[in-house]
């Protein structure tokens, strides 16, 4: 078993490798291998794995890439992630990718898929609509058809006919992946000092750019370390960070929240890897239906899901309660419509429920966090020192 610092460093290197080296190596190891890039937030990676492909998340350049070409495609009042994604693609970082998937999140990502088509990037570009109707016989069937389209694109490249056995095998691997990730969060809920949120982020994000088998191996080792008594507890409040994270904040921001006096006991930074709650049935003869049903019945709340019958504000409040959190930090990417449109809904509900929160905006390329740190520090102190006073709300 590798040491924890070594595993964390390995994950950090993988997570921020803008050349996607591991996927290049993986593709070069065998003839006919297919690499498929997908954008945030969620995509059922199981189907790409079953088709002999490697799904690789493209989370943009963050604060590690200077944007030159991307700015020519987007107005200044559009969020930052699409410009850094197109910049990465046009600069050849993803030349070895065979196709690109754009899960339905917002208009900006829809337009980004159009830009990839116009620039003839990859062998296929698919904008994937997710069901907004949560009846299995309507939305579920539609979703299965969308997944069939993706399998068809991959088959045109590698000729592989995907069987139920292939899909069930992949589902089982991703079930293990989800279980191990859930275990990490459960350990952190009780012992958040055993691994920082920054380290947890590296471990999760690394899993989006490497084969699931390798990630499961890393996760098993990390969990084994986390089961031991490591680290020293500090006097911090517990918070849940919610941001409908498509555009990722810089690591400095993720770190700053804990440095300012909080333990982050739940978050949606890597929402895609945690979108399905629990296992998907890995033993059915209709695995696509099982994946679709899992999305309909077992998905986490998200700004990109229309959930009028299962309001997200109550689901987030339940997470806060279950995790024993003292409050919520809302972080929205600048100009992110889904997140910013949800914000007043959450805040109105939390005012009524008496859940403490703060909110701020960020951009992936901003790495000055003093103001955010001060806001979080004041929030933490208000709970630590004045918890008996009336709930403090800083909007």
């Amino acid at each position: 078993m590798n040491s924890l610092p070594k595993l964390i460093q390995q994950c950090k290197d993988l997570a921020f490798d803008l050349q996607f080296t591991r996927s290049r190596e993986w593709k070069a190891q065998e003839e006919g291998r297919v690499v498929v890039g997908y954008m945030p937030v969620y995509f059922p990676r199981e189907i790409i794995h079953a088709a002999g492909g490697l799904p690789v998340a493209i989370f943009g350049g963050g604060d590690r890439k200077q944007i030159i070409k991307g700015d020519a495609y987007y107005q200044s009042y559009i969020c930052h992630i699409p410009r850094s994604i197109i910049d990465l693609a046009l600069d050849g970082h993803t030349n070895h990718f065979d196709g690109y998937l754009f899960p339905s999140i917002c208009d900006v990502i829809r337009n980004l898929s159009g830009l990839f088509k116009l620039n003839k990037l990859g062998k296929f570009v698919k904008y994937m609509d997710f069901p907004q109707n949560f009846l299995p016989e309507i939305g579920g069937v539609f979703y299965q058809q969308e997944m069939q389209h993706v399998l068809h694109y991959i088959k045109e490249i590698n000729g592989k006919e995907v069987t139920a056995h292939d899909l069930n095998h992949s589902i089982a691997l991703y079930n293990t992946n989800r279980r191990l990730i859930a275990r990490m969060y459960d350990i952190r809920q009780e012992f958040p000092w055993r691994m920082t949120i920054e380290e947890l982020y590296y471990v999760l994000r690394a899993g989006t750019v490497i084969p699931v088998e390798e990630h499961n191996d890393i996760l098993e080792q990390v969990v084994a370390h986390m089961e031991k008594e490591i680290g020293e507890p500090q006097d911090k409040i517990k918070v849940v960070v919610s941001g409908a994270f498509c555009e990722q904040p810089a690591v400095g921001l993720i770190k700053a929240i804990e440095e300012a006096g909080c333990y982050v006991v739940d978050d949606d930074y890597m929402l895609g890897s945690r979108m399905i709650l629990g296992d998907i049935d890995p033993s059915t003869d209709k695995p696509l239906e099982a994946i679709a049903n899992a999305y309909i019945h077992q998905s986490q709340y998200s700004s990109s899901i229309y959930d009028v019958h299962n309001p997200k504000e109550y689901r987030l409040a339940k997470i806060v309660q279950d995790r024993g959190a003292d409050g919520v930090i809302f972080a929205s990417a600048s100009f992110c419509d889904p997140s910013l449109l949800d914000a007043p809904i959450f805040q109105k509900a939390f005012d009524e429920m008496g859940i403490r929160y703060i909110s701020f905006q960020y951009s992936e390329n901003i790495n000055q966090f003093k103001v955010i740190k001060e806001q979080v520090g004041a929030f933490s102190d208000s709970i630590k020192l004045w918890e008996d006073d009336k709930a403090l709300v800083i909007a």
Binding site: G261, A378, K384, W386, D389
Partner: protein, 285 residues
């Protein structure tokens, strides 16, 4: 007789690390400053400076961190303090430090190395409202340090020399980046060193008083932070305030004002120590 607890506050600023050792009597609620230490960071690793300063205080008092310190609280750049119990935001710490120096204070002005912040507080040290200077470094302690270096003065001399001014000239604008040029201009105009320093103090004082006005601050106002020990600055603030007939504030200062953040953090540490103990006792029942 109640056994007190010892708490340590470590305030890591832009230029200095300040450490305060406090003794806290829970039943009476009394706090005593036992010892203090300031270390200039210079070009050293701030983490090493923190360790040295803490060890110095512990050694001088025959204490051991694990055995004797109930709570080690960081404030300021808290990530530089590795072996801490908890962290408090610098405004929270300075507000409490200001109340420690002057329990009657209704406003605390933290005049530190990087900015000036006016904080309205209640009698418990709870922050009610605040205003602070912007990102620009002019009007900060670091700026005064730069000026003193250009004038060939030790930082300790800046306050007393300002008191000797007889005809200060307030510069039209102060920019930390262009400070050296500003000073050369003032020297070439034939101004004496006391008049240059006083003029700069008046210029900063003007900003402080404007900040207090915009906060609708109430007196008495406790001046804390590194610049709170600079008697030239205090005099300048009082003069500017006296000129403003609508907002005449009453100020207090303290010779240990540089330790306000460290003291405030240590006091909050004592509070949290007992609060956590109470919570554990409740859980154990």
């Amino acid at each position: 007789m109640e056994n007190p607890i010892y708490t340590l506050g470590v305030d890591v600023g832009g230029s200095y690390v300040k450490v305060a050792l406090m003794r806290y009597f829970h039943q009476s609620g009394n706090h005593e400053l036992v010892d203090k230490q300031t270390e200039k960071i210079r070009k050293r690793n701030p983490k090493d400076v923190v360790v040295d300063a803490v060890n110095m205080v512990l050694m001088r008092n025959g204490l051991n961190q694990e055995r004797d310190i109930a709570y080690l609280a960081s404030t300021g750049e808290g990530e530089m303090v590795e072996r801490k119990t908890g962290h408090f935001y610098s405004m929270t710490s300075h507000a409490r430090g200001g109340i420690f120096f002057n329990p009657e204070a209704k406003t605390v002005v933290d005049m530190g190395g990087l900015y000036v912040r006016a904080i309205k507080v209640d009698s418990r040290g709870k922050v009610i409202d605040y205003k602070m200077t912007g990102q620009c470094a002019s009007g900060s302690g670091q700026f005064i340090e730069n000026i003193s270096r250009y004038l060939g003065l030790a930082i300790e001399e800046v306050g007393p020399i300002s008191l000797q001014a007889d005809n200060p000239e307030v510069p039209s604008g102060i920019c930390a980046v262009l400070a050296e040029t500003d000073v050369i201009n003032l020297v070439s105009k034939g101004l004496s060193t006391p008049n240059i320093v006083k003029g700069i103090n008046l210029s900063i004082a003007n900003r402080v008083v404007k900040l207090l006005g915009s906060l609708r601050a109430e007196s008495p106002i406790a001046l804390v932070g590194g610049m709170g020990m600079n008697e030239g600055m205090i005099q300048a603030i009082e003069e500017i305030s006296a000129e403003n007939k609508r907002n005449t504030f009453k100020f207090t200062s303290h010779p240990n004002s540089i330790y306000s953040g460290a003291i405030g953090a240590a006091i909050w540490g004592g509070y949290r120590y007992h609060k956590l103990k109470e919570k554990q006792a409740v859980l154990a029942v």
